[in-house]
Amino acid sequence: MPSLYVHVPFCRRKCNYCAFFSIPYTKAEVSSYLRGIKREIGLRLQEAEGGISSLILGGGTPTVLSREELECLLDSLELFAFQAGAEKTVEANPGTLDSGKLDLLLSYGFNRISLGIQSFDNDLLKKIGRIHSAQDVYHSIKLIRQAGFENINLDLMFGLPGQTISAWQETLQRAVDQEPEHLSLYALTIEEGTPLARLAAEGEEGIVPDDDLQADMYELATDYLQKQGYLHYEISNFARPSFECRHNLSYWRSEEYMGLGPGAVSCLNGVRYKNWENIFKYSNITQKGSKPVDPLETEILTPKQLISEYIMLGLRTAEGIDPELFARKFGRQIQDIYGQLLLKYINKKIIYLEKGRIKLNPSYYFVANSIIRDFILE
């Protein structure tokens, strides 16, 4: 049973670090988007005949939609057969929420809100182009709790331009004070084509984060959050016990997923494909009765690629990789493929076995690529 991701590519404004597909909110484009989504669902409903395990309504900023627009979108999604008790997450930005939208979401079965707050430092927030302030965050969280949501995630970023380790520590503390069930901590990465990348290319100092400082910040955060009772269950993710994000876990377990909306990616039956990253193309193609897939972004995954990804994703998580599951999935023993490599890393205590599962030692999470790279098959 696949999970479902719905991309809402609208924002009030784009943040300076963001490389995701999003465009400024306009009534006209939203309405063409909403009609497109409806048509895409009609075209692809049978791909999810067995039901949907979980949902993320992401973006962009889904909550930038008006109440009516949001309701229209949620209505369309009702055609899917969600598993009983399915995790349904909506991504939101402080400053775009009101109790009306929150009640609406609740009434459609949403049970988790992921709030992009990034920092509690107003200067930093401005620098990276966020539309909200720390005060907006407190206000939003209060609204969310009042509405009755019992599962909140806060997104934070570290290594922001000019951010010091003590400023980071303060942001962390303030975040924890809000008692979120889940925290995602992302090391700032300068992505191509973003305003930050341009600034860095122009030679502005302090834009490209310092590796050592980021590593210190990461260490600080993992220590602190674990002391506060959060489980470090994936490289960038922390949760109170039993609040791990089921939807994201399904990615890291290489389970199937379906993506709706422009720019959304699906991976079903070993084929990964991406919808056109263009509202009009998306809308027009669906109007002609075709799936809005960009043929150049379609990939039939080879067994080697599937295995490589399985390891790449599995080693990101604290639960690691189950060799039995691996054997069932690929018809080969993991040690027949990676025996020597595993042995090398086990001897160095970089990888270890726990209850029969293969796990990356969390001390190496922040250099995970150096290890995972070796597991990529050619």
Binding site: Y5, Y186, A187, L188, T189, D211, D212, Q214, A215, Y218, I235, S236, N248, Y251, W252, Y257, G259, G263, A264, V265, C267, R272, K274, E299, Q305, S308, E309, M312, L313, R316, I350, Y364, Y365, F366, V367, A368, N369, S370, I372, R373, D374, I376, E378
Partner: protein
């Protein structure tokens, strides 16, 4: 029917790089209709891609041109190309020996260069008739009168009848062809005498075997002749003789005075050594043509596959390259750091770079080249003399009584304003001043005695950069001299990396060691642990740096929409990692092994 030898002219072209040799050759080929313009790819004679890119000739070529002269007769003109680099001066001398004349092509702006002069002397030694050609007269700054004076003053050659040409525009081509016919003497030689043919090049053909390119001096050779290589005494039966048009074309026989090739099912190019004399085994000549010697390797380095499993591929590739290049030497070598590889000997640094590039390009190999070394004579305390071409094999300090290094006599041509810069450079390079002569009022010829090791270490680049590219250089080996030399070892993570050891003058050891460890710190990527880098003489550490441990190498986000991109990123990085060599527990990029060579002081 063979042409009467009075209708044959054998000639080559002497020119400095960039002075237009290849373009002129193209024009001659075009004018005589040897190839139609359509067939004439640009610069036919430089047939390797590499040669075209670098604008130099590495392998010799030959071509027969048929020219109807103004006297109404048709002449057979054999153009024998010469390689354009000091590394190949022996090959040049042999191809000149195959000719009766040469075109001396001089750039109408730049004038005579050191390399040209060296080759002119080779031509004069071989009694060649020299026709000066002043090329590029179409350039606005061309000054043919000045160049004529230069030719007269520097070489002592009458330049009054020098031909003014522009190979680019096709100007002067007919005049050149006429001059070849009228001024270059026809080959002397006697068809009736026992066969004597000079090998001036050879190439390998997978069907016909090693094919010597020859100039017949006496006698004749045809299919069925039993030929004998006079240096080795080996005998082969000729299966085919032919000429170059410039493709190989079979003919009945090659007669005295003619230029062409022989196929005789010869398995190795090492049996067709440049400079050797071919004779008729059944009716041998009493003595060989003069001037034969075996190619001597001047520069050595280790070649290792980045991936140890490519060892066999590398061996096969070297074998194949050697088929066409008898001057390439190699033997098995083992390095503690790099595993199994080969110690290779080259005629010079350019030769080394070419081989390295061909291995990578033509054979798709990923190789590590260790720093080039010369051959040192090491006198031990036990009164033995060892020849050391690999720094790793240098005996311990206590065993060494003295070390001698090869020295060259270098001739440098340079505009007089740069004399100071040249003197400065040569002082830094441990040179001894020999002479200084004014070629003209504004150009100077300097000679220095220099250690060969200094020439292969960054000398040419420095020479060019300090003289804005105006200096030209030629050198020849003149012998060995004792010097205070030491072996410098590099330790990475506490282990000596033998492939990074090098031999250096004692007074430079500290600075070089310091510089190299700094450079290596920049070249070696951060590893999962801290890596110390040290330079040491014997057990004495003279410089130390350390590479801090890698702390961040992670993808912050990895969700459904990111997976393909992230996998591809890792795939690409993994591909890049193949260019790293695992030495002990440290991964070292290829460039690190060349860092020893490319340090600018």
């Amino acid at each position: 029917m063979a042409k009467a030898s009075s209708k044959i002219r054998n000639f080559s072209i002497i020119a400095h790089i960039d002075h237009g040799k290849s373009t002129l050759a193209d024009r001659l080929i075009e004018y005589t209709g040897t190839l139609s313009t359509r067939e004439l790819k640009e610069q036919v004679l430089d047939s390797m891609d590499l040669e075209r890119e670098r604008g130099i000739t590495i392998k010799l070529q030959a071509v027969r041109l048929l020219y109807q002269a103004k006297d109404g007769e048709t002449y057979e003109l054999n153009l024998i190309d010469t390689p354009g680099h000091v590394d190949f001066s022996y090959e040049v001398s042999r191809s000149l020996a195959a000719c009766e004349g040469a075109l001396l092509v001089v750039d109408a702006v730049q004038g005579i260069e050191a390399q040209t002069l060296a080759n002119v002397y080779l031509a004069l030694e071989n009694d060649l008739e020299i026709i000066p050609v002043i090329n590029k007269i179409d350039l606005p700054s061309a000054d043919p009168e000045r160049i004529k004076r230069e030719i007269e003053e520097v070489i002592g050659l009458d330049a009054s009848n020098a031909i003014l040409a522009s190979a680019k525009l096709g100007q002067g081509v007919e005049e050149i062809l006429e001059a070849i016919v009228q001024r270059i003497p026809p080959p002397k030689g006697d068809d009736e005498k026992p066969l004597k043919a000079l090998i001036f090049d050879s190439k390998f053909d997978s069907y016909k075997g090693a094919i010597p390119y020859i100039r017949v001096f006496d006698g004749k050779v045809s299919k069925g002749t039993n030929i004998k290589m006079m240096s080795s005494g080996k005998v082969f039966e000729v299966t085919e003789v032919g000429i170059f048009t410039p493709a190989m074309n079979i003919v009945e026989a090659l007669h005295a005075g003619e230029v062409g090739y022989i196929a005789a099912s010869i398995k190795n190019v090492s049996d067709t050594r440049v400079g050797d004399t071919i004779t008729d085994a059944d009716c041998p000549a009493s003595e060989a043509l003069p001037g034969y010697r075996k190619a001597v390797s001047m520069v050595f380095c280790g070649l290792y596959p980045v991936e140890t499993s490519d060892y066999d591929k590398l061996r096969d590739a070297l074998e194949k390259l050697q088929l066409n290049d008898a001057s390439l030497m190699y033997e098995k070598e083992t390095s503690a750091a790099l595993g199994f590889g080969f110690r290779c000997g080259f005629l010079g640094l350019l030769h080394m770079e070419i081989v390295q590039e061909r291995l990578e390009r033509e054979f798709g190999l990923n190789i590590i080249t260790t720093a080039p070394s010369v051959v040192y004579k090491v006198n031990t305390v036990n009164n033995e003399q060892l020849l050391i071409d690999n720094p790793a094999l240098m005996p311990e300090e206590g065993q060494i009584a003295s070390i001698e290094e090869p020295v060259v006599k270098a001739t440098i041509f340079v505009p007089s304003e740069f004399v100071g810069a040249i003197m400065e450079l040569n002082r830094e390079k441990r040179g001894t001043f020999l002479t200084m002569d004014y070629i003209t009022t504004s150009r100077v010829s300097l000679t220095y005695e220099l250690p060969l090791s200094e020439i292969i270490y960054d000398y040419f680049d420095q020479l060019k950069s300090r003289t804005k590219g105006y200096a030209s250089l030629d050198y020849e080996l003149i012998g060995y001299k004792e010097a205070k030399l030491v072996k410098l070892d590099i330790l990475i993570n506490g282990e000596v990396v033998d492939a990074l050891s090098f031999i250096v003058h004692k007074d430079r050891a500290y600075a070089r060691g310091r510089k190299l460890v700094e450079k290596l710190r920049g070249l070696i990527p951060r590893q999962m642990f801290e890596v110390p880098i040290q330079a040491a003489i014997g057990s004495r550490v003279i410089a130390r740096e350390s590479i801090r441990a890698l702390r961040k190498d992670v993808l912050a986000k990895c969700y459904g929409g990111d997976i393909t991109r992230k996998r591809k990123l890792l795939e690409k990085q993994k591909e890049g990692k193949k260019r790293l060599k695992q030495v002990g527990s440290v991964e070292i990029p290829q460039e690190a092994f060349m860092a020893v060579l490319k340090m600018d002081d």
